[in-house]
């Protein structure tokens, strides 16, 4: 049960693409900082929609950037972020 933490824009580097290729069944993905722009990336947004229930996004970072949230992504605040890191037994940052 790994939480994959992403912080950079998928238009800028391949971290999220690389992460998506190495996802186990009950792993989670946390989009924070510039990674929230993933929802604007057609291919990635489609792949994320197939992982509904396991994709999380930091609300403050999304609001700051004017990013609209899709229904398959759960928004959390910083407090929720901490809880998330406790729920998964490992956190991998990309």
């Amino acid at each position: 049960m790994i939480l994959h933490k992403l912080t950079t824009s998928p238009f800028k580097d391949l971290n999220l693409q690389n992460c998506l290729q190495r996802l186990a069944d009950n792993d989670g993905i946390l989009l924070s900082q510039d990674a929230v722009y993933a929802v604007m990336h057609q291919d990635i947004s489609h792949k994320l929609s197939q992982l509904s229930g396991k994709v999380f996004m930091l609300k403050e970072d999304a609001e700051a950037r004017g990013v609209l949230v899709n229904e398959y992504i759960q928004t959390i605040n910083y407090g929720g972020f901490v809880e998330l890191t406790l729920k998964f037994n490992k956190v991998v940052s990309w």
Binding site: Q33, M40, K59, E60, R65
Partner: protein, 121 residues
């Protein structure tokens, strides 16, 4: 006054992830204060700086995008935005916070050749 220098500033970074966007805007305004003819180019993630719906208060960042509409008072009227970068991010021109000129991918080099100086952020 000799004819003023022409300076192109290329923005390719998203806002808030790093300080490139803010620094680039400060540079543009500073240079225009010294009667330099400044043109701004927004490509790739740089176009994200122009979204009007940004509310960065909760991450303790400045909403510097509010300054873009004021650039005309700094005689900065040439704001070019890459059409393909907007399309690949699903952004419509109506979602931007300032009036811009859309450019195709290949137009960037031609527009840059007539600029005396180019800076990239």
């Amino acid at each position: 006054m000799s004819d003023s220098n022409t300076l192109a500033i290329i923005n390719q970074s998203a806002p808030y992830g790093n300080s490139n966007g803010q620094e680039s805007l400060d540079m543009a305004m500073a240079m225009s204060n010294f009667a330099q003819d400044v043109s701004l180019f927004f490509i790739e993630d740089g176009v994200l700086q122009l979204l009007s719906k940004q509310t960065p208060a909760n991450i303790d960042a400045k909403a510097y995008h509010k300054t873009f509409p004021a650039l005309e008072f700094y005689d900065i009227d040439n704001i070019y935005v890459c059409k393909q970068s907007l399309e690949s991010r699903g952004i419509k021109v109506s979602e931007l916070c300032v009036d811009i000129t859309l450019i195709e991918l290949h137009e960037l080099p031609t527009l840059l050749t007539c600029q005396q100086h180019v800076m990239s952020f």
